[in-house]
């Protein structure tokens, strides 16, 4: 009897968990839809902006703009996008694994500075006993950030690069490939490397050295370069948010499926135990009946 009671209790608790994971799955699915729309919509703009930057870099000399200066890279800045909340599968651990690798690679090979977005990343870097220098952490990040939310990060990154405190600016984020595939990516934002962004421009001879800049090269570059850097960081954030929701949805779906399996298993065991108890009772009754007769 006691056995059926405990099984029944376990079934009930698994059912409760199932309800929670199912609700979280649905919430994540609806958030994913919005996040996905946001990320896909501006993807073309940001990739065009990236190409335009590379193109401008090819057309102009490094002295034309501070952000175009090339120098040997010793200090690196990494902007890391993690989430505020957990229960998103391997989302945060994948990013933090990449971050750990990166730190190991570059720490003894020049300095590393970090800007961390999201609670999970902040907790992780808080525990780190390393020489990595944390420039800023941003937690309670909005679900649909605007470019204004990213302004402080962009401004800090550009300032550090200008002051030569860092020689390269990178972002670590999760690229949203599809609902079932997300990839952790490290992307170098500064210095701008045209060869990496436009691999076939040299061979195709598409550069036009006699290009005119209006009003003037300096004015164009001052206007465009910080803006397009912001665009790239913004896009990375949108991709990261879409990935987070996709991974949360998938992991909650797996949890719900698993809960179903457990419920089925337990129900089977429960029925078996109940049946055994009934059989035993019947056996006892008939045994006592034969004893009386």
């Amino acid at each position: 009897m006691a056995k059926t009671q405990t099984i029944r209790r376990r079934i009930r608790s698994v059912k409760n968990i199932n309800q929670i994971t199912k609700a979280m799955e649905m919430v994540a699915a609806s958030k994913l839809r919005r996040a996905q729309e946001n990320a896909l919509r501006s993807r073309m703009y940001s990739s065009s902006a990236r190409e335009a930057l590379a193109y401008l870099r090819l057309l102009s000399k490094s002295r034309d703009h501070e952000l175009f200066s090339h120098r040997p890279v010793t200090n690196r800045l990494f902007v890391v996008f993690t989430s505020d909340r957990g229960l998103a599968g391997a989302y945060n651990s994948n990013i933090l694994k990449k971050l750990t690798e990166t730190l190991q690679r570059y720490q003894n090979n020049g300095g590393v500075k970090l800007i961390v977005i999201g609670n999970k990343g902040a907790q992780f870097t808080g525990r780190l006993r390393t020489t990595a220098n944390i420039v800023g952490t941003y937690t309670n990040w909005p679900a649909e950030p605007s470019t204004a939310d990213l302004q402080p990060i962009v401004r800090t990154a550009i300032k550090l690069y200008r002051q030569k405190s860092v020689d390269s600016v990178n972002i670590i984020y999760t690229d949203f490939v599809s609902t079932i595939k997300q990839e952790v990516v490290i992307r170098e934002i500064l210095p701008i490397n045209p060869a990496a962004i436009l691999p076939n421009i040299k061979t195709s001879g598409a550069t036009q050295p006699d290009t005119l800049f209006e009003p003037s090269p300096a004015a164009v570059l001052n206007f465009i370069v910080p803006r397009f850097i912001e665009t790239q960081i913004y896009q990375a954030n949108l991709e990261a948010i879409a990935s987070e929701q996709a991974m949360r949805m998938m992991s909650m779906k797996n949890a719900s499926d698993n809960a179903h399996d457990i419920i089925d298993d337990l129900t089977l065991t429960f029925n078996g135990a109940r049946q055994a108890a009934i059989t035993q009772e019947l056996a006892e009754i008939s045994a006592s009946a034969t004893a009386i007769v």
Binding site: M44, S48, A49, A52, D210, L212, F213, E214, I224
Partner: protein, 147 residues
């Protein structure tokens, strides 16, 4: 010489325009410029204002297609014009009353602005909404001229 070139208008809200056209008029800090096929390579800042597109050589000014933009960056190489803009809206997408109200609010913001950043923001809003209203106005004028 082909008599058309491809024009792409890309905004953070997606691809807003892509077609072969004959002429594009762009607002720039130095005034309006017209881009025709085989224009020399040019990289230009676009200011907030009205972009006008002439699809065919034979089209008159009444047949221009207008769009409001909040400014951006144009890359021109004779056969292609790629415009990266913060915003681009056709007359159909513009709510005139909303734009008018937004313009009023932006003017108030401009008066109340205490620092350079909020002043610049307010000014940008004013220019944006003025462009919207202008596009809506052009559309209306087109309708009445046809009557």
């Amino acid at each position: 010489m082909s008599d058309k070139f491809s024009f792409e208008l890309i905004t953070p809200a997606g691809l807003k325009f892509q077609a072969d056209v004959y002429e594009v008029l762009l607002p720039t800090p130095q005034g309006q410029i017209g881009i025709l096929p085989d224009h020399r390579p040019l990289i230009n800042i676009v200011s907030p204002g009205v972009i006008s597109i002439r699809h065919n050589r034979q089209h008159t000014d009444d047949q221009l297609e207008h769009m409001a933009t909040a400014g951006g960056f144009a890359q021109i190489d004779g056969r292609r014009l790629r415009l990266l803009a913060d915003l681009a809206e056709r007359a159909e997408d513009i709510d005139e009353f909303k734009a008018k109200a937004a313009l009023e609010r932006a003017r108030e913001l401009q008066h109340a602005a205490k620092d350079q950043v909020s002043l610049a923001d307010a000014t940008a809003l004013i220019e944006q909404n003025t462009a919207r209203l202008k596009v809506a106005e052009l559309k209306k004028r087109k309708k009445t001229s046809r009557l």
